[in-house]
Amino acid sequence: MTSTISQQARSWSSTALISAIALAVSVPVLVIVWSIVQPSTDVWEELWATRLPGMIRDTATLLITVLVGTLVLGTSLGWLVTAYQFPGRRLLGWLLVTPLAVPGYVLGFVWLDTLQEPLGARGVRSIWLCALVLTITLYPYVYLFARAAFREQSQRSIDVARSLGCSRTQAFWRVVLPMARPSLAGGVALVGMEVLTDVGTVRLFNVSTIADGVLRVWFGTGNRNAAAELAVLLVGIAIVLIAAERLARGRARFTQSGSRTGLHVERLRGGRAVGASVIGWGVFTLAVALPVYRLITWAIEARRTDQTATVAGDLGFHLMSSLRVAGIATLSCLALGLLFVAGLNRRHISSTMLARLATLGYTVPGPVVAIGVLVTLAAIDRIGWLPDGWLLVGSFVGLIYALVVRFLAVAYQGIESSVAKVSPSVVASARTLGAGRFRVATRIELPLAGAGIIAASVLVAIDTLKELPITLILRPFGTETLPIWVWQATSESLWVQAAVPSLAIVAVGMVLVAVLLWTLEHGAETVS
């Protein structure tokens, strides 16, 4: 009897804690969304009559193209480096993650400038090129998840499938790929959110998405309500996307019991080995090598012509700002994400709603989150709960809070999907041994899901490192990140001056990617 009561109490307190977190990170978005209660029908009608159909068309085209593109590219590259041996495979396995380090807006302006010559200024500004740029910057999300999923699979599944009449290729389609689906869906979901909320890259290519429309309406007319309604449309699309995958998953599980023997690696020879190398290096060249080369030549030009005067402070100063912001934001997202996953009762119906709430910020564009946070924090400042002279708006805490609102979903998604891969029988046996939910989470699920959690953290770190709109609006004095420097230069079309900070972002991103990969490799070794 008493144990039941104390269990209930524990369950209640963890639910309360989780609810509090979910509420805290969703308030800024809800504040914005709230305005839909008083719909501004006239603007809405005008939008329907003018831009909205185009926005929806562009958003749908971009979303579908990039989702399919990243799924195909990320999955096939992940399969290539996991299942086949060819010259340079190990190095490529690492390098193919590095496009993560190149922000979309940087890759966008480099490509825009590079392709201007052959394609013409008109030809280069196309939705297809925009989709291509987004695909090659975002595919690593799918690639990382795919690679992890493939590595965790057992060769025996493929062996059995082959004994049952499948060729190696058929076994991939019928067994390997379906079993990797939750991971792939996790990666694709991240890509989908990034595409839906992108406001930097699309503008370079004259693509009018809904996210772009939110800012267009808001900042062009000052009509916050109409902008909010568009933002709600985005949230709706995101929720439908996620719900579709959850529904399709149904009761099925994707983990195998028993030992994980890993996949056998097939050695490619001759033409096929060359082909594999060419594909891998080609993607790396387009996504990283070419832009880095262009940035370096621009940086040299900037130095030669002494074009460095657009910003206050030197490289070191901006670098330290970026590291401080990204570091603390990442730790915060990680801590809250872990707490959230640990405390969430996955059997309870409310958990879906809480998770949706907590990840709302990832479904709306950065500037919308920023204004939502601004309004929320300013309201708290006016109430005056904080000691005299302390304000949240313009404080470091406020900035970190906003970044958590925006990127908690990335941490949560990564942690949750790795935990989902921990065999339920392990969890069940731990529960039968009398361990509570938190204990199972901290002792069993989290350590087993360790590599996935590190991966999620690095993704958050890279996201916050590249983040511009929130930092731009909410940064405290004395915090000038590298993307701010890039913005200072690119908003004046001074591409050459944007080279140094862009390179610095890429360099830090590369280090993060290296850390990520090293940890994943190392983690895999200690497990096996």
Binding site: S154, R156, S157, D159, V160, A161, R162, S163, L164, G165, C166, S167, R168, Q170, R174, V175, P178, M179, R181, R251, A252, R253, F254, T255, Q256, S257, G258, S259, P424, S425
Partner: protein, 350 residues
Amino acid sequence: MNGATQTRFHGAEATATVPDSMDATLEQPDAALSVSGVTRRIAGRDVVDQVSFDVTDGELVIIVGPSGCGKSSLLRAIAGLDPVAAGRVLLDGRDVTALPPEKRRIGLVFQDHALFPHLRVEQNIAFGLSHLDRAVRARRVHELLELVRLPGVAKRYPHELSGGEQQRIALARALAPDPAVVLLDEPFASLDPSLRDDVRTDVIEALRLRNAAAVLVTHDREEALALGDRVAVMSNGQMLQIDRPEEIYERPSDRFVATFLGEASFLPDPDQPGLAMMARPHDLDLAPRGDDVVTARRYMGAAWRYTVRRSDGSLIDVDLPGGPGTKPLAIGDACTVTIDAGHPLHRLPA
């Protein structure tokens, strides 16, 4: 049913006549599986070294050996999952050595059953039946579920089944496309001991009912002796001997086979130098008094097992029947080891 039993015994006798010359194994025209001279080489080492044997329809051959002896590698080579460096694999008289696994018609069952977690039970079983039309497929799935005595689980997912049920489904899946031979790699090793006997019985029964030729790999000698129509012992990549269980237990070809399948001591043959006599503990007796000394004893229910140090310093195990009224020897008691087999002891090279 009768026919199946007949064939099995026929096969057993056929090879029993040439127990010592593995290379001379004849490719039988009616063999479901015929393996000859198969060698699997990894990094210059022959992990499977010139192995030859046949399996006929309805026969269960069990390959037993210590871990790392190459028995699983042999199975993978037969299945076509790994390439062979030399030798041939024939299925129903058809040379499949060059064929990929999907073209061989082989059923596979692994220790971890490797059910596809994303598919329902019926979809798992029907996995290899995609060439059949819907109705036939459904009927076949139904039949197989009946066969493995799990008629009600078609709509479940693998994680909703117990370990034993999962293994039976794995067998049903392997049998579904009517394979020429079923290969089972340690199929019972991961099962709970309390379940193991039941699952074992059901699996063997299902194989018999389908008259399937099967090769089962295990490290458990009791399992091998109890279940196999024939038992093969492997060590260091070589198949040392293959024979009916009683033959291989009673007439092992060398000391490794003898000791791997059970306790055995070797006594010098007084008549033929260069040969040794194999004595299982129950082939021996202890006479009171003498130069030998009891150093340990263990009660095993049906018998007492004594460990005796002989006058030449060697240790030897001897089983003496227990039962009411018998008075066991004590540790330190003097005695003499004698042979009391009721049959001539098997002789093998010293």
